[in-house]
Amino acid sequence: MKRNRIALASAALLVAGVTALAGCSSGSTPKPSGDSGSGDVDATAIITTNGSEPENALIPTNTNEVGGGKILDSIFAGLAYYDGDGKLVNDMAQDITVDSPTTLTVTLKKGQKFTDGSEVKADNFIKAWNWGAQLSNAQLNQSWFADIVGFNAEADSELTGLKKTDDYSFTIELTSPVANDFATRLGYSAFYPLPDVAFDDMKAFGENPIGNGPYKLAGEGAWQHDVKIDLVKNDDYQGDRKVMNGGLTITFYASFDAAYADLQGGNVDVIDQIPESSLAVYQDELGDRAVNQPAAIFQSFTIGEQVAHFSGEEGKLRRAALSMAINRDEITDKVFNGTRTPAVDFTSPVIDGGGEALDGGDVLKFNPDEAKKLWAEADKISPWSGTFEIAYNSDGPHQVWVDAVSNSIKNTLGIDAAGKAYVDFATLRADVNKRDASGKRTIQTANRSGWQADYPSLYNFLFPLYATGASSNDGDYSNADVDKLLADGAAATDESAALADYKKAQEQLLTDLPAIPLWYQNVNGGFSEDVQNVTFGWNSVPLYYEITKSKK
């Protein structure tokens, strides 16, 4: 009988304990119901979303990653912003005019204010850009000001190309005829203005920035490191980005799995990343609330000019053969579950003029017979030996597709192909950038490459990667025709003329194939049942100001 009593007692204790635990947990959530969207909109509702801890303080000229970028784009307003389709729309500027291929004039709207009450004037832009350009300030975005007259990468130097004409207007003079493209860059976060108070103590400013955008920090200390940041609607903002909710809370997640778990549990409203493990099922699980649309992200792998067997005529044949040996349709379907789109050019379909078929685009289609033929021809010039390797960093989700591409090449061409894993991104880049005494790159494998557009322009996809000596030209590719076409495009005053130039440049790239285009990445995200009007912008970030939340 004692035994039964103890058993009964412990059972009762267990039940009591579990009930107490369930009650103790703060904010237990009910299972999501099928109801969505009906009911009134709550204009003061706070939208919750995922983010990552900014790598630096919140200073526009020192932020070049999405964690900080997401916050800055919400609390600051620059001369212009990019709408959902990537079109430049004036924000603080009344007017941005391209006067000549090297000069622009900017006029500001009057009466725009920072949240500390000071007015947004021409000086706020000029001083902020100058501050970002000085070498001694060591700002990560310094290179964005490189085209302005007066910029010096080696020493502190004032940007004399920025001339104030009156309190609300200034002119920009450039060192090369890229004014047309420069105008499209002005929506990027490096060009945000800073209030006068920022220059007194930039370090403290970076912790509690004062901006002029649709949102502002909820108060002093609203940025809880590694935890979240609270933003509220900024009533002083008079621009076109009307805020339809009361604020935005960005929770910093350590992993996308945690963010997705929160979405499933109803603990977060919108997420803009789906973890690898759930890519196959998230569209079924979320239904209409899943997001899978093209993004301005281009993936490829680069084969440098210095890699053995890949230069000159032999190189052209081998590159074309490799490109035709990759079954992009199958890989994007089976490996990526439709979250990638096979590439037909070197840019992205999200950008105006991008993602369109080019002359000579057949080299990007799977053609095993032609591939074998070209490879055999190349072998006649110099027989192939060894393994074709693609270097990649293992701290990202690349192993799967590198293996898929290598297998595609192996099965089609009958050669040995494999991925070469590097421990992390830093190590991979170190090897890619290593040069010998004569300045030639030393890496002898292909390496994964790609580009996420900073601003919606074809020039941004092409110039930094394929122009002679450009900053991200991993393979040291150099072609005078391409350089000229890119320069013409940037200087063109007519949009269609510029697009025609960029198209021709890409057609040249298709014959040389400095990098083998693979696919465009999609943005994958999801939202909960309580929110509506969730649209993702050209840069894969939701347009938070448009999101509405229904009353509970």
């Binding site: 103890i6 412990s10 635990l21 369930a22 103790c24 947990s25 703060s26 904010g27 237990s28 959530t29 299972k31 801890e53 900014p54 790598e55 630096n56 303080a57 070049n64 990653e65 070498l135 001694s136 060591a138 990560l140 310094q142 290179s143 990468a153 080696e154 020493a155 370090k203 970076g206 809880q224 490191h225 590694d226 935890v227 979240k228 929770t251 997640y253 350590a254 992993s255 799995d257 945690a258 963010a259 778990a261 929160d262 499933q264 549990g265 109803g266 603990n267 701290d395 992390d424 991104f425 830093a426 991979l428 880049r429 170190a430 950038n433 790609g450 996420q452 930094p464 900053s471 991200s472």
Partner: protein, 308 residues
């Protein structure tokens, strides 16, 4: 006794220097350039790279960097992260969170293991004993991340009893789910230890004497059996506490808890020297101190043990 404690504390000094030097050397030797990685896909000019590197003293030889770092330590400044925060502030923010998690996990593990272990030992060989052993075997064999994912999916997402992640709300009441999972992962060994210890004690002469004196079970058990059996379990749990304190990294990662494990993991990915070395040094010292306390506790609980 005092001399013993003093000796153990003095041993901390060479441990401190040795571990900081070793960890600093290892971070230094890691391949790849962390400053270049800060720029991502868009590499900077040589001059900018040099300026940023100089900010973190990363252009100096190894021993000079180490010297600057130790100089800072003795002034109480553990350095700054790449994003400009002081490591002291980061530690102050994350250690209490992991501390709470560790205390709750050990508490759950300890209570559960002594209750179930005692019951199992008293009913040795019967059905309930076998069930307990099999259940503990299941927990022993499941990797912690499997338990975390299952718990998160079943109890948080499907049933909604808890929130799926912890995030900013990480006070005592918010850490139940990760604490239970952590506790259960350690429970198996603890329970078996308790069971073995109780079985041992039950066979001792003094217990037989107590029963033969006519003392009832409810007097013998807590006073004579439990007190003697608890010793190894307490010391085991205390050691586990030290282990948990230095980072239940996987659990923190899955439940998004801003504790030391998560922060150290992120810092390691970024090759952030000051954070890595400072955190690891603090852990080493904490772990040594916890072990010292465990040893002293053992001596306190068991009067047969004396320290010279």
């Amino acid at each position: 006794m005092l001399a013993y404690i003093l000796r153990r504390v003095l041993q901390l000094i060479p441990v401190f220097f040795g571990s900081t030097l070793l960890i600093y050397a290892m971070v230094f030797l890691m391949p790849g350039d962390p400053i270049l990685a800060l720029f991502g896909d868009k590499p900077p000019s040589e001059a900018l790279l040099a300026t940023v590197r100089a900010q973190y003293h990363l252009d100096q030889p190894f021993l000079v960097q180490y010297y600057y770092y130790m100089l800072g330590i003795f002034q109480g400044d553990m350095g700054t992260t790449f994003s400009g925060q002081s490591v002291n502030a980061v530690l102050e923010r994350t250690l209490p969170v992991t501390g709470r998690l560790a205390v709750m996990a050990i508490g759950i593990e300890f209570l559960l293991s002594i209750i179930v272990g005692t019951i199992s030992a008293l009913r040795k060989g019967k059905a309930s004993d076998h069930v307990n052993l099999v259940v503990s075997l299941i927990f022993l064999s499941m990797p912690i991340f499997v338990m975390c994912f299952i718990a998160q999916y079943v109890f948080a997402i499907q049933l909604g009893w808890f929130r799926p992640t912890v995030g900013g709300q990480n006070d005592w009441g918010d850490l139940w789910l990760p604490a239970i999972v952590l506790g259960l992962s350690l429970y198996a060994t603890s329970m078996r230890l308790m069971r073995g210890s109780v079985l041992d004690t039950l066979n001792q002469d003094w217990v037989r004497t107590a029963y033969s004196k006519g003392l009832p079970g409810y007097r013998v058990l807590p006073v004579h059996v439990l007190r003697n059996s608890l010793i190894p379990v307490i010391t085991n749990s205390a050691t586990n506490f030290g282990v948990l304190l230095v980072g239940a990294t996987v659990t923190e990662y899955i439940f998004n808890i801003p504790g030391v494990g998560n922060t150290l993991f992120a810092a390691t990915l970024k090759h952030e020297g000051p954070t890595i070395v400072s955190f690891v040094t603090v852990f080493v010292i904490l772990y040594v101190l916890v072990n010292l306390v465990v040893d002293l506790l053992y001596g306190l609980l068991d009067p047969r043990i004396r320290y010279a």
